[in-house]
């Protein structure tokens, strides 16, 4: 029964030694691999900042009639969820292209409103900021008053019937023709 070790055959002592190292190594690896994955996960994910929020339906926005919409901006940052009530003006001229304006005057940040009539824009409809009489046209350009630049826009896209915004404001820029 007890054969003497021949050639390269592994002795009983070494076999047990290797078995212990092997099993120990397997158990360690089973624990270490998930820990490594867990530890490096922040760098391996492909998470991008911000999510698209559906704020309105196409059919909610009448053509040529700026519409103030309210929405909840819900941010999930790891385990902390913050909710902000926000609003925006949505404008469409053809029911296809929609522009979403940040609802604050570019002068000092007062909320502005839409005026169908009024002497400011020769009786034409316009955005009107009551703080310092900032007047904007429906396309956001400054007609008169102190605003330094056209209305800021909110990053938006249309998908199907849904108008969506992302938490990013594009500063208004005067389009030079």
């Amino acid at each position: 029964m007890h054969q003497p070790a021949q050639g390269n055959s592994v002795s009983r002592r070494n076999f047990l030694k290797y078995s212990i190292y092997g099993i120990g190594g397997l158990i360690s690896a089973a624990l270490a691999v998930p820990l490594v994955r867990y530890f490096f996960s922040p760098a391996l994910g492909s998470a991008e900042g911000g999510e698209w929020i559906v704020v309105a339906r196409k059919s909610d926005i009448p053509i040529g009639q700026p519409t103030l919409i309210q929405y909840e901006d819900r941010k999930i940052d790891s385990w902390i969820v913050t909710t902000h009530r926000k609003s925006a003006w949505i404008v469409t001229q053809d029911g296809q292209d929609f522009v979403v304006y940040d609802p604050h005057c570019t002068h000092l940040g007062c909320p502005y409103t839409w005026m169908e009539t009024g002497e400011e824009n020769k009786g034409q409809p316009h955005f009107h900021c009551p703080c310092h009489e900032g007047i904007y046209a429906i396309d956001g350009t400054v007609i008169s008053g102190p605003p330094p630049r056209p209305l800021d826009r909110v990053l938006s896209q249309v998908e199907g019937d849904a108008i969506m915004v992302k938490d990013a404001v594009i500063l208004g820029r005067a389009e030079k023709g």
Partner: protein, 226 residues
Amino acid sequence: MKASRNGRGGWLEERLDLRPLLSPLFDRKIPAGVGWFYTLGSATLLTFVILAVTGIFLSMNYSPSPDHAWDSIQYIDDQVPLGSLIRGIHHWSAAAMVLLVFLHMLRVYFMGAYKYPRELTWVVGVFLLLLVMGSGFTGYLLPWDQKAYWATTVGTRIAGAVPLIGEFVRKTLIGGPEVGPATLPRFYALHMLALPILIALLSGFHLFMVIRQGISAPPKRKEPSS
């Protein structure tokens, strides 16, 4: 070049000459008849190591505040890759450790292994038992769910029932008149700093004595004297 004392060993051994140091630790004489029951202490130590390692990783994504504790654990479970696995290992290792610690204690008790010269090992072991139970109790609160909250409320009120010093002990434990915002970081600090450090120190001492004194031989059946 000086080889290690017995002339064997690899690169590291040649430089550090560890064998004389480690040999008394690992190449100890084991009494005849020692079997699986004698592995319970080592198994307990293994669960402690696993708990310490997984605990370090869990603490990276845990927020010990009443506002965020539960949410952060949901985040570990649902969002972090393999987070639920790491938390599961921590959870089950904790249960296993309590079980193993008791089995280990029962083994030592029934085999009379606590007797001279090993009384001190036993006494240190009793303190280790208390520390392990303390770790379990403080860890139970950390998920900050209903079960955690009420288990802590009930557990600390049991401490509060002690005559004279009860209320003092209860308020000290939970950091206020009732379980609240101050309790959670208090338990967290105990759970992840104070108790593990004490367990590591005491189990080191525990193990040192086991190695110093050798493993006790299994008890022998006495010849009937009639």
